[in-house]
């Protein structure tokens, strides 16, 4: 089920009302059933994938904890990791690996006879397998006690608000919450609803309208002007931010209504002053996952020569985190670029620190923000482009932007945008981005989202009504899926 669908508008209140009416001991059953239904709305048979990993990890968790020797612990952990990564490999990376085998084989004039699989990618696969792995990893590190209640463990993996697109949770943060008795707390519930409203707004109004434009451009690159392409590059940045942060907001909001707190996933990523900083503010739950379970162990085992160790670990981590998003070289390219950027930042840290002290701090930070934003937009070209060739084509077209602007008198005589989006839609997009950034600015400076809570009912309701009215009259006419569902 999509959060931005009419079905969810009915589903959520029903599940939530039942949740509060039922006594505590039945609630986990309700949530588990609701989560199954939510997931099976997409493709029912894929629930078996979830069932498989849940059973394996549940027993692995207990076995790891009860293991007498470190070797045994490692052994059971390995089983759990192989099961999860195996599921990922089969359902997500099989065709990618196979295609590359074919490619390599053809270099030597061989034929690859392994057939390709034709199936839909199960939604949210990378999210729930990662969350499940974090469970067995934390137990093996002795940070968390294995969950004995099978239903509660299943709920940890399946909790429907964050099942298909995170935030990727840790057992320490959420598992205990499923045991706690949640009561109806008026202000908390309203808080959660408010969060959901803001998420819906970002998704339906901003992200989906931008998608109509960026899809039009990226799916038909060769007929576009360079101006249209450059606009699409920037629009995509806001689109992906609004899309993904909206999902997180709705997820966290829905959970909060029922009394569950999920981790923060975004912290104004476009304010980042360097790429390393960006990853601390963007999809934070994925960054910390990779940091704790991949980056840090790789660095520790290579700490003999620390500089090499860190650069090596950065490259490995970011390449894999690129691949985490999707089985395509474009995503690997995206990751590798971030690996290079963070390595560069690591190696030049002291030098940059000294530089920053010589320059006016206001100018330095603004310039850093702009450069970081431009870099991230640049890498997102690879993220969004349908193929590697498309991505390079986009890069090739960027200089044309300046020639077109320089020859404005010629450029203006022809249509700049190919008509895949009506002019009005384009203006809307610009206005929405402006609105988003204004609200972000106000929130950052005056904490307006928090302060709204204590305003009188007239002001509060007029804000809600404004959002609702804008949603009704300006929602994108096609509802798009959340980008991160496919990961």
């Amino acid at each position: 089920m999509l959060f931005n669908s009419f079905e969810f508008l009915l589903y959520f209140p029903i599940v939530t009302a039942l949740f509060f009416f039922l006594p505590h001991r039945f609630r986990w059953q309700l949530l588990l059933a609701a989560s199954c239904f939510f997931y099976m709305f997409f493709k029912p048979e894929y629930i078996l994938i979830l069932a498989f990993t849940i059973v394996v990890d549940y027993y692995a968790g207990i076995l790891i904890e009860e293991a007498k020797t470190a070797k045994q612990k490692k052994y059971y952990l390995l089983i759990s990791l192989i099961a999860n990564i195996g599921v990922l490999a089969v359902f997500k990376y099989y065709n990618f690996i196979n295609e590359n085998i074919t490619g390599v084989a053809s270099l030597f004039g061989w034929k690859n006879h392994i057939p390709a699989l034709t199936m839909l990618l199960p939604i949210g696969l990378s999210f729930h397998t990662f969350q499940a792995m974090s469970y067995t990893l934390e137990i093996s590190r002795g940070n968390y006690k294995a969950e004995r209640h099978f239903g509660i463990y299943a709920l940890y993996v399946m909790f429907y608000p964050q099942l298909v697109a995170g935030p990727i949770e840790r057992p320490q943060n959420v598992l205990h919450q499923f045991h706690e008795k949640k009561s109806f707390d008026y202000s908390r519930v309203v808080d959660g609803l408010r969060m959901m409203l803001w998420g819906m707004f970002k998704k339906i109004v901003i992200a989906d309208n931008l998608t109509t434009y960026t899809d039009g451009v990226y799916n038909n690159l060769h007929v576009q002007t360079s101006i249209a392409i450059v606009v699409a590059i920037f629009f995509f940045a806001f689109q992906i931010y609004c899309d993904f942060s909206a999902y997180t907001d709705i997820a966290r909001g829905a959970a909060r209504v029922m009394g569950y707190e999920l981790v923060k996933n975004f912290n104004y990523p476009f304010r980042s002053r360097n790429v390393t900083d960006f990853w601390r503010r963007w999809h934070m739950s994925l960054t910390t996952w990779f940091n704790d379970y991949l980056f840090t162990p790789v660095v520790i085992s290579n700490r003999g020569s620390i500089k090499f160790g860190i650069v090596f670990a950065l490259m490995v981590t970011f390449s894999l985190s690129g691949l985490w998003h999707g089985a395509a070289w474009t995503y690997v390219g995206f990751g590798v670029m971030h690996g290079f950027a963070t390595s560069y930042e690591f190696l030049t840290k002291k030098w940059r620190n000294r530089l920053s002290k010589k320059v006016n701090p206001f100018i330095y930070s603004r310039v850093s923000q702009v450069l970081t934003f431009l870099f991230v937009c640049y890498t997102w070209i690879f993220f969004r482009a349908n193929t590697m060739a498309d991505a390079f084509y986009v890069l090739k077209r960027i200089p044309g932007f300046f020639t077109e602007i320089a020859n404005w008198s010629v450029t203006r005589t022809k249509p700049i945008f190919d008509g895949s989006l009506p002019k009005l839609g384009l203006i809307y997009c610009g206005v929405f981005i402006l609105l988003l950034e204004t609200l972000h600015y106000l929130d950052n400076k005056y904490d307006v989202f928090n302060k709204l809570r204590n305003q009188n009912i007239v002001l509060r309701w007029s804000v809600y009504y404004s959002l609702m009215i804008i949603m009704i009259f300006f929602a994108s006419s096609t509802a798009h899926r959340f980008i991160y569902f496919q990961f």
């Binding site: 009419f6 509060f20 008026y186 519930v189 309701w461 009704i472 929602a475």
Partner: protein, 315 residues
């Protein structure tokens, strides 16, 4: 919890009522609109057409076949239900709506084209359906396209018009009796186009593309359904392939396969199939304004011929 529930209900009601009123006004206003497809829909829903002869199809129906000519020649009141840019499903949907509001015609002329049986990717001019989204026939008929309507369009008041904001102002103006300019007039569904051969075919040739039409199984099923409905109600049915500029025909590489759908059905059910794609008219660009559409003179000349041929069949 009760307090919050009440507040939410109050909030929703306060939002719903004004929006509902807006929608009602716009809907009613649009029901008076005389522009293009709106005029046809509004005629259909008024239930006053009750024609003896109905023409079905896409734009090649309402541009190429004149009900006014058929009217005088065949002495049957005629109405043209052609849907601009519609595939067979949309043409058939319109006919189903027609039957739900009007009496069964005596004669149906189904204007067929090469691309009819391929399902369109999107609905062309989907705003024409917005004022009538309450009708379940419309809901079913418009489902399954890229720009299909969603549950939110059906149930959230005023939301359905958001992708066509001009509807709000047109609807309000018409509701309150103000004139709205109309540059797209249909007369009994028909539109005579006084144009001359333009450069669209030359541009089309430059693309150097050929097309393979993929017949959609559901659309073929609906095609047979229409035939059966006509048979069951003793409606005389004719398949008509109106003139099409001959030089465009080779660009549709599987044209013969698509034709076989019509020919086979014609044979199976004993339906006359009048094919004008190799008629002298189809060789002469003075009758056309582009490769698929006749101009006013072409349409009238052709329809007279069609009426003669139908009469000659003496069914």
């Amino acid at each position: 919890m009760a307090k919050l529930t009440l507040k939410i209900i109050l909030f929703v009601v306060l939002l719903y009522i004004p929006l509902y009123i807006v929608q009602k006004i716009v809907d009613e206003g649009m029901h008076k609109y005389r522009k293009g497809e709106y005029a046809v829909w509004n005629d259909i829903y008024s239930g006053n057409i009750n024609a003896d002869l109905i023409i079905l199809g896409n734009s090649r129906a309402f541009v190429n076949i004149s009900p006014l000519v058929l009217d005088t020649a065949l002495k049957q009141s005629a109405y043209d239900l052609g849907v601009d840019g519609g595939d067979f499903n949309l043409a058939y949907t319109r006919f189903k709506v027609y039957l739900s509001k009007n009496k069964m015609p005596k004669t149906v002329i189904l204007s067929v084209s090469t691309s009819d049986l391929e399902r369109g990717i999107g609905i062309f001019n989907n705003q024409q359906f917005m004022p009538y989204l309450n009708d379940t026939i419309i809901r079913k008929g418009t489902a399954g396209y890229q720009n299909s309507f969603t549950l939110a369009d059906y149930y959230v008041p005023a939301m359905k018009y958001r992708s066509d904001p001009i509807s709000y102002s047109v609807g309000f103006n018409l509701y309150f009796g103000k004139e709205v300019p109309n540059d797209d007039v249909r007369v009994r569904g028909y539109q005579a186009r006084e144009r001359v051969w333009d450069d669209s075919f030359e541009n089309f040739k430059k693309l150097k593309k050929t097309y393979t039409i993929k017949a959609d199984t559901n659309l073929v099923k609906e095609f047979h359904e229409l035939i059966k409905t006509c048979k069951a109600n003793n409606v005389k049915l004719y398949f008509v392939y109106s003139p099409e500029y001959v030089k465009v025909q080779p660009y549709f590489v599987n044209r013969a396969t698509i034709f076989s759908y019509y020919q086979d059905a014609a044979k199976q059910y004993g339906i006359p199939f009048l094919d004008y794609s190799n008629d002298p008219i189809s060789h002469d660009t003075t009758y056309f304004y582009n490769s698929e559409h006749l101009n006013k003179n072409g349409a009238e000349t052709f329809t007279k011929k069609l009426a003669q041929d139908i009469k000659a069949l003496k069914i």
